[in-house]
Amino acid sequence: MVMSIKARRWAARLGTVKDLMVAGDIITVILMIVLSGVLFVAMPAFLQNRVTGIEIKRGTVELGRFSLESDRTLDVEGPLGKTVVRISKGQAFIIESPCSNKYCINMGHIGASGGVLVCVPNEIIISSGQNNDNGLDAISR
């Protein structure tokens, strides 16, 4: 490769990698690049292995955690009767409820990113995502 005189002068001033960095520096830089590569491969797998799913509660009693992976219909017993929760395509929603207002059905669906469905009369709380979410996003906090 032909270098211009200017480029060659700059190269001479900067020297080679060995003039620039001692052994420890090169090891450090390589280590960091390797660490970054390993994390790049490992991090998504590590994060995905965590339990993601919905948590169903009656009042303060936890009834269980359910994965969003498989489609199914769950019958949840509350004080008024049966609330039917449907899990489909990674989304959970209430399709049937014994309450009078049916607000819970109108709350729509929640996915793995978080959210909550509540049926107040039947005391059913379906939540997803991290529990330490207090409803504020990063900006407003």
Binding site: M21, V22, D25, T28, V29, I33, M43, R141
Partner: protein, 171 residues
Amino acid sequence: MNERTLKIARLSMLLALATSVHALEALAPVTLGWFRFGFANIIGLTTLILFGFKDAFYVTAGRIFLGSLISGSLGSPAFMLALSGGVVSIILMCLVSLIPRQFLSEIGISVIGSVAHNMAQLAAAYFLIIRNEAIFMLAPVMILAATGTGFLNGLASRYLTASLKRHWMIR
């Protein structure tokens, strides 16, 4: 002028320089969201090499407080991130600077400090602000970016240290 006064004057100059760099960097248009060069760390590292850990800690903590005061982010999440990153990075840089300079030069120290700075910020962002494990997906990208900026800062710090040693006739 006696030694003590001289040292205080020099440290004040370094602190003033670090503060201006920190404040100017906060003014610079940000292209990639979280990405910053961390040029202020050049001064922190130079202080560490010339004066040792205690003074480097004062300069770093001081420039974060003063710089945030100037740029108006004192007490905001951005300030918390800068503080946690700065403190962790200066402590780690002090530890690795105990390795003789012929095995690990300014560049290596700076790369380690820079990566530590970013990781501490990520951890602080997780605990203070976002609370979502997904932000750790940024870790590999941040390590790579920190390696690059750390290298540049280390190189700059080497020239600054050499120049200051010459001008101030230290050692």
